[in-house]
């Protein structure tokens, strides 16, 4: 099946139907999505800052990273589930939205950055785990991660302001787009 076909079937699914029909589903699912995204950012930020050497190198990197992983992954998992539900509600609109596509690309980039760090950079962690400056590759991974996650959250919020009118306006048409945004 082509991607647009898959998108249409997601939109036609029971979950999509429920998200559209229930009055309270969208606000509840969206609140959980925003909250868990914030937790993902907040917990990753602590690890990223440690990679950059902030606030100090006194506490071992692996220790900080290990105690936060479960919170990051737990929040990320809930974020994915709520995100898929929101997508199902208006799948074709999201699919055609530029901000949504940039967000998906940024998420892939965040994943790639993490994969390189976990599989390559972290191999030598014993040398820079504690009391010494981290290696440049680790500092790069930390800085890139903060930047990418900030972009993910900005473009995600941008979707809410653009997905309603992501189409070409016929020339000469007087459209009143002054309606409240979510």
């Amino acid at each position: 099946m082509e991607i647009p076909g898959i998108v249409r079937s997601i939109e036609a699914s029971g979950a999509g139907e429920w998200m559209r029909m229930s009055l309270k589903a969208m606000p509840i699912v969206e609140s959980i999505h925003v909250f868990t995204a914030a937790v993902v950012f907040g917990t990753i930020l602590i690890v990223d800052l440690r990679l950059l050497g902030f606030p100090s190198t006194r506490r071992a990197f692996t220790r900080i990273s290990d105690e936060l992983t479960r919170f990051t992954w737990g929040a990320f998992l809930i974020s994915v589930v709520t995100g898929v539900l929101m997508f199902a509600a208006n799948a074709s609109t999201y699919y055609g939205n530029a901000a949504f596509r940039i967000k998906m690309l940024a998420l892939l980039l965040a994943g790639a950055n993490m994969a390189v760090f976990e599989l390559v950079t972290k191999r030598g962690v014993a040398r820079w785990d504690k009391d010494v400056a981290t290696v440049p590759a680790a500092r790069f991974a930390g800085a890139a991660s903060i930047l990418i996650w900030a972009v993910v959250i900005f473009v995600a919020r941008w979707i809410g302001f653009t997905k309603g009118y992501n189409y070409d306006i016929p020339p000469g048409l007087d459209l009143n787009l002054d309606f409240p945004t979510k």
């Binding site: 995204a37 907040g42 959250i153």
Partner: protein, 170 residues
């Protein structure tokens, strides 16, 4: 209040913020990033109080690591939040969620002030650094409070859907 909101929404500052498409989403994004900073900082302090995270470190060290981020994040949130109110005062002032959020915010900020004043000296003098059940319950309660504040924040956009006839929009 509604007249004040209408007046504020018509001021040149408010009109300028509304007319530049990217300002409101940018402010909201910064606000959300700071939720992450403030909530997770408060969560780390609370988990230390209940002994689930960084139990090997003295409470004072954990407090000094996260409290400045919590306060710094709150200052940025106040700045972006106030600007968002100036930009869309009618949206905010006519939402029940907004007023509930502000009420809980006052309680939340007061509770972390009390936290800092009582827990730190207590942790310093106590040899075991183990907090009482009451202290632990209070710490968990503040996390729940922040959670409610976050949800009410997003609920501002859906006041009628969430509150039905109780909504000030209705």
């Amino acid at each position: 209040m509604h007249e004040f909101a209408e007046w504020l929404q018509a001021t040149s500052v408010s009109v300028t913020i509304q007319s530049v498409a990217w300002i409101i989403p940018l402010l909201q994004s910064i606000h959300i990033l700071m939720i992450g900073v403030v909530f997770v900082s408060s969560l780390m302090i609370t988990l230390r109080v209940v002994g689930r995270v960084r139990a090997d470190e003295p409470f004072g060290v954990v407090w000094d690591r996260f409290a400045p981020w919590m306060w710094g994040g709150l200052v940025v949130m106040a700045a972006t939040g106030l600007t968002l109110i100036v930009a869309e005062p009618i949206r905010e002032f006519t939402a029940l969620s907004f007023w509930l959020k502000m009420t809980l915010l006052v309680i939340g900020i007061t509770s972390i002030l009390i936290f800092g004043r009582t827990l730190r000296p207590e942790a310093r003098t106590s040899a075991t650094a183990e907090f009482s059940a009451g202290r632990k319950a209070a710490a968990v309660a503040t996390v729940v409070l922040w959670l409610a504040i976050v949800f009410l924040g997003r609920a501002i956009a859906y006041d009628v859907e969430v509150w039905g006839s109780l909504s000030l929009h209705a």
